[in-house]
Amino acid sequence: MEASRDDFVIAIRSAFIQRGNKQRFSLFFLIITSILLLVLGKFNFSAVKFLKVSINEIVYRSSFIVSVPENYIKNSYINIKDHFSYYEEYLELKKQNKKFKSDIQKNDFIILENQRLKKIIDDYLVVSSEIVAKVLIDKQSPFLRSIIINKGSKDNIKLGMAVLDDEYLVGKVIEVNYTTSRVLLLSDLNSKIPVSIEPEGYQSILSGSGKDDGEIQYSKEETKLNVGDIVYTSGSGALFKSGIPIGKIKNNTNVNFFSDFTQLKFVKVLNYEKESN
């Protein structure tokens, strides 16, 4: 019994503490360094921040280059898949187009009326800056859903700015480096956005599910959501301007995003402010 415990201790010591053949560092030293980095990172120690930003700048660019072959395979796969569904999509789009044409005319009037009313209550926000950015890395890890864009503090990107794909909200900026930034997608488990669900006007919080959809959380029990209800930003908490379309209710509390986060190539990074008279 005593001997087997000794063997165990010797094997552990040899594995973790002794420096192996052709190894410059012992495992124990490097594990302690990792723990130190984690602890200092938790308390936002400036040296760790600087290390992170430096690695970010180099790695994001290298990762973009290294990903070229895989992206080529990925895009070819998506193209082939799309090719088989073109005709069905065409018929569907033709039908939708007809409906949208009539809707646009109705909407023009409503938009103008809405702008006039918002100006009266001093809640009319305009886009103060719009930056178009290219998506460098869009690795949809099952644990964290984020993208890296090629604009950073050099281009006046700031933390919390809204990121849109055409007119649809896709996420917000959570990390800014000098030439790159990280955008947390709405589908991430850690994303929480105040939303308004129309036509009933329910106020709620949209959280990511960690998959390709979102989930309505913290709504009242009597809230009755219908399939097809539209989810917009509510503007609460002054995070984003109200009325940016996000997605549609799929079933129960699940939300199908308008934008396909796996297909993002270019995005708009926006900042809103009150219109100056």
């Binding site: 552990i12 495992l27 980095l37 938790k42 949809q140 964290l144």
Partner: protein, 173 residues
Amino acid sequence: MSRLGKVKILEKLNELTPILLLYLAVLNEFDFNYLNLPYFSFNFPFILVFYWSLKKPENLGYGLIFFAGLINDVVVGFPIGISSFSYLFICGFAAYLRNITLRPSILKDWLFFLFTVMVVSSLNYSIVVLFFDLNIGYLDIIINIFFTFFLYIIFANLFEIYQKLTTRSATND
């Protein structure tokens, strides 16, 4: 090219393969997620680090593994240091298995790998959730562990074949 030159190139290639694969894997997040297979995901660096630390530790320096972990954290967006911690722990488990094994068997390695991945993933996600207050889908982790374990045997055989081929070519030349 002279015979000696060819042998040297093959030997160098054999030596550099694991580290090149590891850096390609962390920079590229080689995971087939774009196939959109429901729940499918696996951790290729775990397989790579465990296999090479067990079979040829001299080809995979701990310092380089530590740096690969830092890169992975930056690419994936995890707190810096967490992947290095996981990879180095895997190296430690592999070194322990190597120390206590008299007669190596791929089945034993495979089962020990399951134990390693479970312990390391638990540590990893406990730190992320408890220390950094991040939300993580537990079902995703379990499935990721399962596929990582399941695919280990396939990759281990592929690495073995690759090693045999490069060694044989070097010997024949």
